[in-house]
């Protein structure tokens, strides 16, 4: 790719940039903003759960008609908050915010390319995302409120405004927003794949790629194959909602009105939705694991253990992720044989996941660990992956799912694997690559404080949920006070809310550290972590085209840490082999 010699205006440098590093930062900032919005929503509904039917000053953040005369949150708006929280965190933060940031930032730098294959398409991918964001946020303020049928938007609930107000304009805007979001994601994914396959620098064979790049490549492939099915799913829903077709709707009487739809099946929606929905959670997880592989290796001063096995595990997880979607549908009345098939494939996915955990542990064994804040979060990711992954074995077993499906048990599970594991991976990535992104260092002590407070609060919020689930408490319940059988659980609810609010506030440390360090952080050196990968060979002042002269030439894999016979405990990938030295 030729260097861009054009003069940069403010607009082309900061707004309509085609430079992958700027686009990455745009994704990061938007993702962080949405994370704050999503987290505030969860703080609000946790307050409702701990003090049901009471008022709270936090409700002042909401539009006026969401609160009734007693000052309490309206039940349907509780569901609106839960829906938007899920949508924002799953798609906006953990997909766009995680992949969008790190794929854009790292891929050209780690493979030794000047930029992505098409800077223009890359720029488009952010702006589609931005417009999708504006539309989604605006849906909060429309009449009837935003979509309220859960982030999984099953019809008929999501198709009928008479069933819940949010299924009116709010849901229409949700669908438009998600369509633009998916298009933006696809545009990004195209670039990631093509760039990795074609623009690697001389010597950067696939076997010498850092694991982060492998993870991002496989994630992008998952995305381009699975996101379009969400579009077809959504298209049929749009037709049912706005054009009176009966793809998903049948035999409905709502609010006394008999609808004309016959022959449709909501289960068809579920199949199409979860065909994306399951790969989606791996689209969320894999980049986090890729980041963690990198951060653990650098800070252990050891190669990541079992590079080939790690790549193989990523590929196997990706492949299997396409054939497990039915485990979200065990209780739909599907043919029990189908249920058996999905149980089988779901429990199989535990195997490559376990392999990855063992490889991380083996990397830490006999390491020389440097505890940067990034490393703390990487270790947190591994802990959460163990905890959350194991409960997946209960949920994936169809017979056991009978009593835990849609209870707080599953809420605990997916929050620990996504809300802890993946978010910690994202934090690790921000702390680790901040010096490269902004040329300055984040404050280490604030980072330590942020990690420990978050780690403690997060387990405090989500571990107790397993007990709520085993006590039979369903999810998406406005309050648990309607059934006497749940009266004994109110203490647990209060504990969870306490940790949730504290954990939310604690993120302020990170936001402060992030913003402060961009402007006032100490200037970073070129390679502050003494890492081997190529992004640390570029100058601190970020330049268009990444390297001022020729592109680096790669002579070794990405993990020559503490190699016997070397003078330093790391050898960058572009350092030629010494006389008599063998490549690993």
């Amino acid at each position: 790719m030729s260097e861009h010699h054009h003069k940069e205006t403010f607009i082309t440098k900061y707004i309509f940039s085609q430079d992958h590093k700027m686009i990455a930062k745009q994704f990061l900032i938007t993702g962080m903003f949405m994370a704050i919005v999503g987290m505030l929503m969860s703080a609000i509904f946790r307050v409702q759960l701990a003090n049901p039917g009471e008022s709270s000053f936090l409700y002042n953040l909401l539009p006026g008609d969401w609160i009734n005369e007693a000052g309490a949150l309206n039940p349907d708006k509780y569901l609106a908050l839960v829906t938007m929280h899920g949508t924002i965190l799953v798609f906006w933060v953990l997909t766009a915010g995680l992949s969008g940031t790190f794929a854009n930032f790292l891929i050209p730098l780690q493979i030794g390319a000047r930029d992505m294959a098409s800077g223009f398409i890359n720029m488009l991918s952010y702006w589609f995302f931005f417009i999708a964001t504006v539309i989604l946020i605006s849906s909060i303020y429309v009449q009837g409120g935003p979509a309220s049928g859960g982030w999984t938007i099953y019809p008929p609930l999501s198709a009928l405004p008479q069933a819940i107000p949010g299924s009116g304009t709010g849901m229409t805007l949700w669908l438009i927003s998600i369509t633009l979001f998916v298009v933006g994601s696809l545009l990004g994914g195209l670039n990631y794949i093509v760039t990795i396959l074609n623009l690697r620098t001389i010597g950067m064979s696939m076997k010498r790629l850092p694991l982060t790049v492998w993870a991002l490549l496989i994630t992008a492939i998952l995305g381009v194959l699975s996101f379009p099915v969400l579009l077809s799913c959504g298209l049929l829903l749009i037709f049912d909602r706005s054009f009176g077709t009966s793809f998903y709707l049948s035999d409905i009487i709502i609010n006394g009105e008999m609808l004309h739809n016959v022959g449709g099946s909501p289960i068809l929606f579920e199949h199409l939705f979860w065909f994306l929905g399951h790969p989606e959670v791996y689209i969320i997880l894999l980049p986090a694991l890729g980041i963690v592989s990198e951060v653990i290796a650098v800070n252990s001063r050891k190669p990541i253990f079992g590079y080939k096995a790690m790549v193989g595990a990523l590929l196997l997880i990706a492949f299997l992720s396409f054939i497990v979607w039915g485990h979200h549908m065990f209780m739909t009345g599907m043919n029990p044989f189908l249920g058996s098939v999905f149980t089988f494939t779901t429990l199989l996915i535990a195997i490559p996941s376990a392999v990855k955990v063992f490889n991380y542990l083996a990397t830490l064994w006999r390491a020389n660990i440097r505890f940067t804040p990034a490393m703390l979060f990487a270790i947190g990711t591994v802990s959460a992956f163990i905890t959350g992954g194991l409960t997946g074995l209960i949920l994936g077993d169809s017979a056991l799912d009978i009593n835990v499906h849609d209870t707080y048990f599953v809420v605990g599970h997916f929050h620990i694997v996504m809300g802890l594991s993946a978010i910690y991976g994202m934090f690790a990535g921000v702390y680790h690559w901040f010096p490269k992104m902004y040329g300055r260092m984040m404050n280490k002590n604030l980072g330590y404080l942020h990690f420990w407070a978050t780690f403690i609060c997060a387990y405090g919020v989500f571990f107790p949920m397993h007990f709520l689930g085993l006590a039979g408490l369903p999810r998406r319940y406005y309050t648990n006070s309607a059934f006497p059988m749940f009266d004994g659980l109110s203490d647990i609810n209060s504990i969870i809310t306490f940790f949730a609010l504290t954990g939310a506030i604690v993120q302020g440390i990170f936001i402060f550290n992030f913003i402060y360090s961009i402007f006032k952080g100490p200037k970073a050196s070129t390679n502050p972590w003494k890492s081997t990968t190529l992004e640390w060979t570029t100058p601190v002042e970020r330049i268009h085209g990444n390297w001022p002269g020729d592109l680096p030439v790669v002579t070794r894999w990405a993990y020559d840490y503490s190699k016997p016979g070397a003078s330093e405990d790391f050898i960058p990938q572009n350092v030629p082999l010494k006389e008599g030295e063998e490549e690993h």
Binding site: D76, L79, Y154, L157, A163, I252, I254, M258, P266, S300, R301, P303, F305, G306, Y307, T332, G333, P336, G339, T343, F344, L347, V355, L361, A362, W365, N368, I369, R370, F371, T372, L376, V382, S383, T387, I394, S398, A399, I402, H405, T407, N443, K444, L446, Y459, G460, A471, G472, P474, R476, Y477, Y478, A482, G488, L489, L501, I509, P522, Y559, S562
Partner: protein, 325 residues
């Protein structure tokens, strides 16, 4: 009010800590030290913190298991439910063993191998034998678990229906209604187009099987007698969740679903066991609108005599409705 105070205090604490850190940063600058360099002392502290917080976490987990054990659902009150409970015990046992093995190992490793400028990491990049071992062993264990799980699933989903009493459960925003199939044990056909104010379930009164059907607002079951619940929904997807029986099944408009089980304990027995305010209850377990949290119907398990007395007191549909054309 307490919430407000907590948040205010937390915010002040954070603000204070932040100021302290900024001051320490400035001090490092004055001393010409890199404030963000990770020192051996940092590594020692963080390593110890992992050990301490890690142990606290594990203790917290055990504390939760002990303290909240009594809040969990009582043992299953159905035949297949008992098999599910056994599978659950085995599965939980397995994952707890793995959790309590791997989690301390993780925290111990990061403590033991905390960095030090005098140490050198061991360049150990791969070992095929290890990879095979820790792939094969989980595969074997999981295969056993899968086989056990599939057997339990198959037995739960395919019980003997020949003797089962058929009862329909009808879900709508925001209540449950049930329909007993009467002495012929056959439910009359139903169609949403036939729903009226008086015929809320849309039963086709021209179907001869409908004559002895009875619409009821609570379900009575005979202990140790199998029952087949057939589900329909009126408006959106609901889900019939009977946690004490280990029964859950989506109720989907346009589809009919079912779940069969045999209750093994009467409500009276359960009241003795769990306390006088115990009830078997049916909850909605799939988001269905504003009052999703408050859709309940009682299930009462009793002796054959008690059931016979109760059902006799319920009115037949044919007595309640006029025949429809």
């Amino acid at each position: 009010m307490t919430n407000t105070l907590i948040i205010l205090v937390a915010v002040l604490i954070i603000a204070a800590l932040v100021q302290i850190t900024r001051v320490s940063e400035l001090l490092s600058e004055i001393k010409k030290q890199d404030p963000n360099k990770v020192t051996d002392s940092n590594n020692k502290t963080q390593g110890i913190l992992f050990l301490v917080v890690g142990s606290a976490f594990l203790i917290f987990v055990v504390w939760q298991m002990i303290t909240w054990n009594h809040l969990l659902l009582p043992p299953a009150s159905s035949l297949h439910g008992q098999e599910i409970d056994s599978l659950m015990k085995v599965s939980m046992g397995l994952i707890l063993i793995v959790f309590f093995a791997l989690t301390p190992l993780l925290f111990y490793f990061v403590y033991k191998y905390r960095g030090n400028k005098n140490n050198k990491a061991y360049f150990f990049a791969h070992n095929n034998k290890l990879e095979v071992i820790w792939t094969v062993i989980p595969t074997i264990i999981l295969t056993c678990l899968i086989v056990y799980g599939l057997r339990t699933w198959e037995r739960s989903m395919n019980p003997d229906l020949s003797q089962a009493k058929i009862i329909e459960v009808y879900a709508e925003q925001f209540k449950w209604t049930a329909r007993e199939s009467g002495t012929d044990n056959k439910l009359g056909k139903a169609n949403f187009k036939l729903v009226t104010d008086r015929n809320a379930l849309g039963v086709d009164m021209n179907d001869v099987n409908s004559i002895d059907d009875k619409v009821v607002r609570e379900v009575h079951l005979v202990v140790n007698k199998p029952v087949l619940l057939k589900f329909r929904a009126k408006d959106v997807i609901h889900s019939a969740f009977l946690p004490h029986f280990r029964v859950q099944m989506n109720c989907v408009p346009g589809l009919s679903t079912q779940f069969a089980f045999t209750p093994t304990q009467t409500t009276a027995e359960m009241k003795e066991q769990e306390g006088d305010d115990f009830e078997f209850v049916l909850l909605c377990n799939k988001i269905c609108g504003a009052a999703h949290y408050n859709m309940q119907m009682s299930f009462i398990v009793e002796t054959q005599q008690e059931y016979d007395a109760w059902i006799a007191s319920q009115k037949k549909l044919s007595e309640k409705l006029l025949t429809q054309k």
